[in-house]
């Protein structure tokens, strides 16, 4: 019985059933792209990603929010990590915060980056440590293409 309970608890839920929700958006002028968090799995890297295209030097407004919509329970000691990097080697922006996601708890951020050099960037928001009590991590990813 114990093994059954453990295995059920570790089944990755469908995204629609998961009440730990994550949203990542990036906006340039009137164009906005949004990525929703998904459980981290090998399939995540194969999923098509939103692409925000912009010109070098323009300001990009980036927002994210994470909500634990469960009515009870806590997901403790979750690191929320965001990285905007160029060709996976050159971080333009990076942030991290640690908090306990109590039931109905929410965290968010809102910031602007500017003057990106032309090239391809990846914007990734992810949890680290949620899997200990929640069963899996979440991530939301999008591409940012900066033209000269």
């Amino acid at each position: 019985m114990f093994c059954f309970i453990v295995s059920v608890a570790r089944v990755t839920p469908r995204a629609a059933d998961d009440l730990f929700t994550m949203e990542l958006s990036a906006r340039v002028d009137a164009e906005q792209q949004t990525a929703h968090g998904q459980p981290v799995s090998p399939a995540l890297n194969r999923s098509p990603r939103a692409v925000l295209a912009t010109k070098s030097g323009t300001k990009i407004r980036i927002r994210w929010s994470i909500v634990n919509q469960e009515k009870t329970g806590i997901i403790p000691d979750v690191t929320v990590h965001l990285l905007l990097d160029h060709d996976q080697k050159d971080a333009v922006y990076e942030s991290a915060l640690v908090m306990d996601f109590a039931a109905q708890a929410r965290s968010s951020a809102d910031f602007v980056v500017a003057a990106l050099a032309p090239g391809n960037y990846v914007l990734r928001l992810e949890t680290i440590g949620a899997a200990r009590s929640h069963g899996h991590e979440h991530a939301a990813v999008m591409d940012v293409k900066v033209r000269p």
Binding site: H81, S95, L97
Partner: protein, 161 residues
């Protein structure tokens, strides 16, 4: 795995030296080209502008500047459910001025976090940016809505030549 290491490294590398403040420990660093850098620690407001003089980072217009901060809640009691952190770079009239300029759309850097602030909670960010117009600028990171009678901040002046 790489990203987990990055996140851990981001917080560890920015790890503050403890016991600079009663509620918040803050370490703020601004670095220009050629390894020139200034760092500042926690101050508090009121009074506006705090008590400590601010270090000044001198760089040229168009130089790349990297700012990095980490704030640690060293207050051991209670949680503020809707606390915040605001960080920004805005133009200022004079180096060292006590008045804090308003943050507008013209800010060079402007970012916020909202989160549940528990004991030992930690938040940090690192951002690269450029300032093309010579002048005096204020780099500041501050706590918000911590449900105490004062807030903490750390600040560095940027003199763009």
């Amino acid at each position: 795995m790489r990203r987990a290491i990055l996140a851990a490294a981001a917080l560890a590398l920015m790890a503050p030296e403890l016991a600079h403040a009663e509620h918040f420990d803050i370490k703020l660093v601004a670095a220009g080209p050629d390894g020139v850098a200034q760092q500042a620690f926690a101050d508090q407001t009121p009074p506006e502008g705090g008590l400590n003089p601010r270090p000044v980072l001198k760089v040229r217009a168009g130089d790349e500047i990297t700012m990095q901060f980490i704030m640690t809640n060293v207050y051991p009691h209670g949680t503020a459910a809707n606390a915040g952190v605001h960080y920004y770079v805005v133009r200022e009239r004079d180096l060292g001025q006590k008045a804090v300029p308003a943050v507008s759309e013209e800010a060079i850097v402007d970012g916020t976090f909202t989160f549940a602030l528990k004991p030992q909670a930690r938040v940090g960010a690192r951002q690269r940016f450029m300032i093309r117009q010579p002048g005096n600028y204020l780099l500041r990171v501050e706590s918000q809505r911590t449900q105490r009678d004062h807030e903490h901040f750390s600040a560095i002046d940027l003199q763009i030549q």
